[in-house]
């Protein structure tokens, strides 16, 4: 396949950038119009969190998608998607800290320690910070091979983010657990897609052959 021209990539980037801003625009619109419902803080938290998780999974989908389609230039969109995931996670955290907990700061420490879902959620955001900071070209060059190792953290972050969602579902709410379980399956599928299946199959065939020859 012929590599796409640089202008095509720029256009694609602009489109993805605008698409990633749409959920934020939608939220801002609903805030301005007061259409977030009776508990607007909870609505803001849920929607910003949803988009952080979705963008994280979309970022994780780039590599498998690239292998599947053979469109190598998809990788050029990955950094922007990852940074948007971090952006929405930060908005999510900021809403929780400033608007929801606002004035009840003493509660924060006990919340982080005592609630497992807040513990893992906060940890997921914390681990995203070094990834965002080292996302520049200069940092990539400076870190060299270690950059790839560091950014493997995103696999753990994805799992923490899904757990953060799964863990807060009320006991006995079997219906409510459906949505986080969908995210969990997507995450597991994306992880499974990274396993070296072709190599394993090849090895399996090699180990079978001597027997058939005997």
């Amino acid at each position: 396949m012929k590599p796409p021209r640089e202008t095509t990539i720029v256009v694609a980037k602009v489109i993805v950038f605008v698409l990633c801003l749409l959920p934020l625009g939608h939220l801002a619109w609903d805030v301005a119009q007061q259409t977030l419902g009776p508990d607007p803080v909870a609505a803001l938290e849920h929607r910003s969190g949803d988009w952080a998780l979705r963008l994280l999974l979309i970022t994780l989908a780039i590599t498998p998608l690239r292998r599947l389609t053979g469109v190598a230039t998809l990788i050029r969109l990955r950094r922007m998607l990852g940074l948007f995931a971090f952006f929405y996670a930060t908005v999510h955290l900021a809403i929780y800290l400033v608007i929801d907990l606002g004035g009840f700061w003493r509660q924060l420490f006990s919340e982080i320690v005592k609630r497992p879902y807040i513990t893992v959620g906060f940890l997921a955001w914390l681990l995203l910070v070094p990834l965002a900071l080292t996302s520049t070209k200069g940092m990539m060059r400076r870190l060299g091979r270690r950059w790839g190792k560091l950014h493997k953290l995103v696999y753990a972050i994805g799992l923490l983010a899904v757990l953060h969602y799964l863990w807060q579902v009320k006991y006995g709410q079997k219906i409510a657990v459906r949505e986080p379980l969908i995210y969990l399956s997507i995450y597991l599928a994306l992880m499974a897609a990274r396993l070296p299946w072709p190599a394993w199959f090849a090895r399996l065939r090699r180990s079978v052959r001597p027997e058939s020859g005997a």
Binding site: T35, V41, Q107, Q173, K174
Partner: protein
Amino acid sequence: MKSFRVPPIPGSEITSESVYLQRRRFLRGLGLAAPLLVSGCSRGGEDAPVAAAEPAGKPLPAPRSERWQTGEELTSWNDATHYNNYYEFGTGKSDPSSNAGRFKPQPWSVEVAGHAEVIGRFTLEDLLKPHALEERVYRHRCVEAWSMVIPWVGIPLGACLARFKPTSRAKYVAFTTVQRPAEMPGLAYPVLDWPYREALRIDEAMHPLSLLAVGLYGRELPNQNGAPLRLIVPWKYGFKGAKSIVRIEFWERQPVTSWNLVAPTEYGFYSNVNPAVDHPRWTQSSERRISGGGGNLFARRIATQPFNGYADDVASLYAGMDLRANF
């Protein structure tokens, strides 16, 4: 926000009803109407979006109680009737208001059973007739750490129960919610062990704060709020207030209650509002207050008070009890 159909009541009557309820609340309602109008249009909901902020339902005039007022800003009628936990109609907060339309709260009867001299089936009218309705403003604290301030219309539970002459063996009172799968789509899912059951100790039930509510905001209870008859125990978490009650039974031993059954470590039998005892997955030390015009983003979190602010009235019921063990 869901828009809904205007009931067949002349517009003039709706307005006068609001004025009757509380002038200040009515004026706030007008302030809310403008943004609702805009959003209603943007979503293509042309059918009278303005009315969404206005109370609807059959008027249920009742004198205001002097004793039971909170002095706090009321929750809007729209929020109190469109943000509900009533799992028989679905687990989402807007499910009850969306799905309760098919429910028929009339005619209604309640079966009274157990350790009492007077037992049997009573129509709702018979239950209410000897008592004068009154309007009481109570704080309403959900176990999920949000709260509202709601003017209920009802009768004191204790006065109603006394008519059944509970015997000395009646140590507890259990309440059962109606179970009608054809009218309550949430019952198709085994979220809880249906029917919904709640219970109080007899002295809690006889306490003057305990209310059998039949209305809110000077109107009959909407289906999603537990029509036609529900329990209100303002010093306990909201789920203790069984909705659409069809059975009242006097027990000698502590009855099984629905949430306690599904998660005993998370929901105790007493479930008194207690900022010192956290729910395992969230704090109970503060709450998000849903009140006023709605849509407010800031300055909504407030400290939760022991017994939801009714400690002076009810703390003596639990004298000598370890409230951490009996959460």
